[in-house]
């Protein structure tokens, strides 16, 4: 069964046509890299899939056509959306409350939701953050905690909006290590092509409001690269 299918979808905002007769299909387990320039409509496309953005055309999710807010509410329970800015996503004061928020909304008992949240945090090696105040976390911690918060809903589809933006090398690797083995289908928006090559199996470029099939491919070439060496390390050589 195709998880997400968009047909002839259009979005106009402030008189500008952002998505134009766009079609998209996402199959189970598939990982799509969504590439496009600034303002090309990548975030708008993700928002359209979960019904946060009103759009013309037809949106099918998990086998059913979705139109109303109530219908999209069911979509959001299974298609988790990781926002660009973790500060938008983490609104509960403590980490554990935030991770338990989704499961609680899906009708889970309080104790059960808390233990599930604890498990997810432990799985992602974030257990020590459980009682921390969300706004005092570092940028990398915030990002991983918001990922834990959406994974707590055990989604079939993950919509990731620049998930590694502003992450340092170490957090980027942790993010990749978490995402790689997940069975969920994914749409990943990023400008980091090497990252997309590692995480996705097909690519599409959003241009002129439509998706153009593409592929990320690598070949060796002579390049100059900037490296960073710490001075102590150079002196030790």
């Amino acid at each position: 069964m195709t998880l997400i299918r968009l047909e002839h979808v259009g979005v106009v905002r402030d008189g500008r046509r952002i998505l134009d007769n766009l079609s998209l299909a996402l199959e189970p387990g598939e990982r799509l890299a969504l590439i496009g320039g600034n303002g090309a409509g990548k975030t708008t496309l993700l928002r359209t899939i979960v019904g946060l953005q009103r759009a013309s055309g037809e949106i099918f999710a998990f086998g059913t056509r979705r139109r109303s807010e109530a219908e999209f509410r069911q979509v959001r329970a299974k298609a988790a959306y990781l926002f660009q800015d973790p500060d938008d996503q983490l609104f509960c004061p403590t980490v554990i409350d935030d991770v338990a928020f989704g499961p609680l909304n899906l009708g889970m008992e309080h104790a059960q939701a808390m233990s599930l949240a604890g498990d997810i945090l432990a799985e992602l090696d974030l257990g020590h953050l459980a009682n921390r105040i969300t706004h005092r976390l570092s940028g990398g911690e915030k990002r991983l905690v918001s990922l834990a918060a959406v994974l707590a809903m055990r989604p079939d589809v993950l919509l990731l909006d620049e998930p590694t933006n502003a992450l340092d090398e170490a957090y980027l690797e942790r993010m990749v290590a978490i995402l790689s083995p997940l069975p969920a289908a994914m749409i990943i928006v990023s400008h980091d092509w090497p990252l997309l090559e590692r995480l996705t199996d097909r690519a599409a470029v959003l241009r002129g409001g439509r998706l153009v099939p593409a592929m990320l491919h690598r070949h060796g070439q002579w390049t100059e690269q900037v490296h960073l060496h710490e001075l102590a390390e150079v002196a030790g050589d």
Binding site: D88, F91, C92, I133, M153
Partner: protein, 253 residues
């Protein structure tokens, strides 16, 4: 935000900390009612003494209390300086052409006592309580979930807005802005305020979307209510008896 405030990670089991949040909230409300109606000097003095006792019981860092009081005393000094001269009544002394009245001075001192009473009680009873627990306590006491949600969101985003304000101020200073008394300054402050409103609105929209993405449909689910414990009942009894006793003195006199 200062580290020692609103910090559930700091665990010191003072008698106040052993109380349930809802008990602390009810006690605070009772004390605030008393502070509102009390006018008799003897009632206020006794209540202040009780409040100091509560502060000692709570064993909170003195720096927190100092910080909180400092904010309030600033306003009170203005009040203390102005009220005696602005209320009509029996004159007690003159300062140039203006006259201080004993009614004004009494009113000023009463207000100072009332406000300090409130600050001390809130500091002692709610000071170590994380805002989430206050929100949850309010929910268990039957406050509509809409207000609880508003309260919880506000406590969460105060710091984000503070950071956003700080970033804007820095951005202004980075381009050599210095407030002066000219039109440019006022226009800049206008833009600053406008930008904050627009950003806040957009932030609020995104947060709402993020909440809806995780199945939020209007009500915040909170922790189930714990049964009242003996210690809570004992504390509440003593506390309410004190408040009622002081109220009786207030109205009997």
């Amino acid at each position: 935000m200062r580290q020692s405030m609103h910090n559930p990670e700091a665990t010191s089991a003072s008698p106040i900390d052993r109380l349930q949040p809802s008990t602390r909230l009810v006690a605070t409300l009772a004390a605030l009612v008393l502070a509102t109606v009390a006018h008799q000097p003897v009632v206020l003095a006794l209540a202040l003494a009780a409040a100091v006792l509560l502060v000692l019981l709570a064993r909170l860092p003195w720096a927190d209390l100092g910080h909180r009081l400092l904010h309030v005393e600033g306003f009170l000094i203005v009040l203390l300086a102005l009220l005696p001269f602005t209320m009509p009544g029996r004159p007690i002394f003159e300062l140039g052409t203006i006259t201080a009245t004993s009614e004004g001075l009494t009113r000023a001192l009463t207000l100072v006592a009332k406000v300090n009473l409130c600050v001390l009680v809130v500091h002692a009873l709610l000071g170590s309580l994380d805002p989430v627990r206050i929100g949850q306590a309010a929910a268990t006491l039957g406050v509509p979930s809409r207000f609880v949600t508003l309260f919880l969101s506000t406590t969460r985003y105060v710091s984000v807005f503070r950071e956003e304000t700080a970033r804007l101020v820095e951005a202004m200073r980075a381009r050599a802005f210095r407030p002066r008394s000219n039109l440019h300054t006022w226009r800049t402050f206008g833009n600053f305020a406008g930008t904050m409103v627009v950003r806040s609105l957009e932030r609020a929209k995104r947060v709402d979307e993020a909440m809806r993405c995780r199945g939020f449909a209007g009500t915040m689910r909170t922790a189930p209510q714990q049964p009242a414990m003996e210690f809570d009942i004992a504390f509440a009894s003593i506390f309410l008896c004190t408040v009622v006793g002081l109220l009786v003195v207030e109205f009997a006199a």
